[in-house]
Amino acid sequence: MTEVRNELVAKRYAAERRFRFYGAAALTLTALFLAVLLIDVINKGLPAFHEHSVDIEVKVDAADIDPSNLPGGNYDKLVKEAFRAEFPSVTDRTGKKALTALLSTGGADRLREMVIADPAIIGKQVTVPVLLSADADLFLKSMSSDVTSVEGKATLHIARLEGDEGYVLTGDSTGEEAEKQLGIAPGELVRFAGGALRVTGVQNGYLKAEVVFAPDPAITALSPGQWSVLSFAIPESSRRISDQQALWLEQLKQDGRIENSFAWRFFESGDSREPELAGIRGALVGSLLTVAVAILLALPLGIAAAVYLEQFAPKNHWTDLIEVNINNLAAVPSIIFGLLGLAVFLNFFGLPRSAPVVGGLVLALLVLPTIIIASRAALKAVPPSITEAALGVGASKQQAVFQHVLPLALPGIMTGTILGLARAFGETAPLLMIGMVAFIADIPQGFTSAATVLPVQVFLWSDLPELAFRAKTAAAIMVLLVVLFALNAVAIYLRKRFERRW
């Protein structure tokens, strides 16, 4: 008898241990997934928070700037010409194009700002930090190809072939294979002061090479340490940056001209099709405007509805029906609210498309049921003795509710509201219908100007082909997460600070 009992007890203990283990395992797994997700997002997003620019000496020519129309000056030309002038050996059209392709199309914006801020610099020489293009930026962040640079260990002899056929490279002893002596393989670049050659192949123990930058004809031999070998993990045809451009960038980097700074631009500018210029300010402002409309509508309406239903409404079939409907509304897919917004606010009331006011209205409808349900639960949690005591000392029902019950329920109501708003912040589906899934470059000026929101910006960037937008997407997700964490932190603080237990 006791043996059976002991067995049963052991079994029960084992079951409990198993249950605890399952619980712990589930938690660990969730934490692991979350950690992987966060690490991945942060890892991908961090490069978007810094940017490379090159310092260029620009002579601000008065001929290109009309003093009465400072913003309309041809700053682009000034910057490009100053940059080209630094590479006088580049004379052909494709070379010049490749050179200026290193600069962002918005590279001259800084110069424009400087001139507008201080028109006295017109006619003077100034140093301007010019933003590099996304492709150049990615190269400098080592995201387009791994580059290794090895210093030459042997003496390198260079001979020019007759009739523009390129160059021949050999080591000290001509008999042996040059590639082994020099440690160079075809496809790699040989770089030295004043020139660069690309090794194209091996022939009779020689290395054949073609010009990337034409070297000084006087150079015939280079001692160890005077030259280096540059090799790329990815061949030129598969890179967005050519060998020539890569060398220019390396040279600028060696000269200490390239500046790596925090990308304030990301928080200061609106959307753009150039990855290096794109920022999230437009989407952030759009999100704030939209959610402001949503909260202004949903909070008073939701609390009023909850107070009435919980404290004043008679309990009959009608209120039951309303209650069931509110609970159902909370479970309606969000895209349906978008369709409603399209049909009612745009087509019937004729409100503008893509406007935060319409987005806010739709999101208000979306979070209203959540707020009502949370508020009712919070009101229900206030003990009836509070109301009874108030009524007992002669307060009216309304006084009892507004002066005693509601203040005690407010922390719970706030928590519910903030969680509802966090949901509103992350919605994209209902906004698709009302035209907020759109490219909007200008930062919204008010509730009726065209705007988009953070999650939509994430969605739009994730769909663009440029590699640099991948980092921007992750960075936008980080900003969205920070906003959501902040909201949740406020919710937790409010609950901890004002919560009362009975």
Binding site: F349, V357, F439, T448
Partner: protein
């Protein structure tokens, strides 16, 4: 509750100032053309100082619906399209008073079938792609059977012994429609018995080439082409279907599969040698020109050499631009705003 909502919306309505005439261009339509139109919109905003046009990405069909809804303040001025306007859409437009539509061809989009750089080079015909991806294929007597091909080798002994796994867009995507028309339909026609089927029962034939297999050989990877690129990197055995601009931007990790012996690149697409490509369009609501400020300037920016030219910024963004004569044609249409005639719409 309903009354509260209605009151709320009425309150909101009165809070909004009366709508002044619209001073911002509105564009809707294809997500394939979106990256190009947005680039033009941005340049237009920068160079003219006017408000940057709002470009929505609604898909070609959705864009047409909005575009054709009417000719007034609240309807869009342009729509992007990755195919010609359909007869039904044109009729819808006319019915709603959108009578003056200008069609501008802006370039081509190549559809590429791509794989990881780590995989060996592959050359496929349209027929082979059909045999790999269709749900039902004809056997040698022309009778339809469920697709039995598990590996590429099952289709043709010269192909590698690798499981068929192709990642592509879902049915809602314009890319999927184009792929079906340009590859699957052409591939199906060449097979035994299919030409007869097309003649006798075109509906049944359509079903054959439009229906992709659902047993894992064709994986619907969502509308996001970047996702397909990342999946290809992770799985060297898989192939992916997406627009040429993604191939160009991600050439460091993926490469394309030659189709009918031709590889997708700028030249083969623009000369038409690479057969899996489609024209891209923007449609202009001519009635809005002069009503909405900036319409004419926007069209001029779009067809300018700076944008649409061979070295223009749209080519940088991955658009395969029109060859000289066709570009001139587009410019002529843009200059005169030649209205699309009903008999030209198929």
């Amino acid at each position: 509750m309903k009354r509260i909502l209605l009151t709320a919306s009425l309150v909101a309505l009165t809070a909004v100032p009366a709508l002044a005439a619209r001073d911002q261009i509105r564009i809707v339509g294809s997500s394939t053309v979106y990256p190009f139109t947005t680039a033009v919109a941005e340049q237009f905003g920068k160079s003219t100082g006017m408000k940057t046009p709002v470009v929505e990405s609604t898909g070609t069909g959705g864009g047409m619906k909005l575009f054709c809804a009417g000719a007034g303040e609240d309807s869009p001025d342009f729509t992007n399209a990755s195919r010609h306007i359909k007869k039904s859409e044109f009729d819808d437009c006319v019915k709603n008073g959108v009578t003056d539509i200008v069609e501008l061809e802006i370039g081509f989009d190549g559809l590429s079938v791509a794989q990881s750089k780590a995989a060996p080079d592959l050359n496929l015909t349209k027929e082979q792609l059909f045999l790999a991806l269709a749900k039902n294929i004809p056997d040698k007597d022309g009778k339809l059977i469920p697709n039995p091909n598990k590996t590429w080798k099952d289709i043709d002994p010269s192909l590698p012994d690798v499981k068929i796994e192709v990642l592509g867009p879902p049915p809602t995507s314009g890319t999927r429609d184009s792929f079906a028309e340009l590859v699957m339909e052409v591939g199906a026609e060449k097979l035994p018995g299919m030409a007869d089927l097309k003649k006798n029962d075109s509906k049944a034939f359509d079903a054959v080439w439009k229906t992709m297999r659902e047993d894992g050989g064709y994986v619907e990877a969502g509308e996001n082409d970047n996702l397909i690129v990342q999946k290809l990197q992770a799985n060297p055995n898989a192939l992916g279907i997406f627009g040429y601009s993604f191939l160009e931007q991600n050439a460091n990790v993926i490469k394309d599969v030659a189709i009918e012996g031709v590889r997708a690149n700028y030249d083969t697409i623009s000369t038409g040698k690479y057969q899996v490509s489609r024209p891209l369009f923007i449609y202009v609501k001519k009635q809005h020109v002069g009503q909405v400020p900036g319409m004419a300037e926007f069209i001029a920016e779009y067809v300018s050499d700076k944008a649409l030219g061979e070295d223009g910024y749209l080519a940088d963004k991955g658009l395969v631009t029109l060859p000289g004569a066709d570009a001139d044609k587009t410019r002529a249409v843009a200059k005169d705003l030649t209205v699309l005639k009903a008999e030209d719409v198929k």
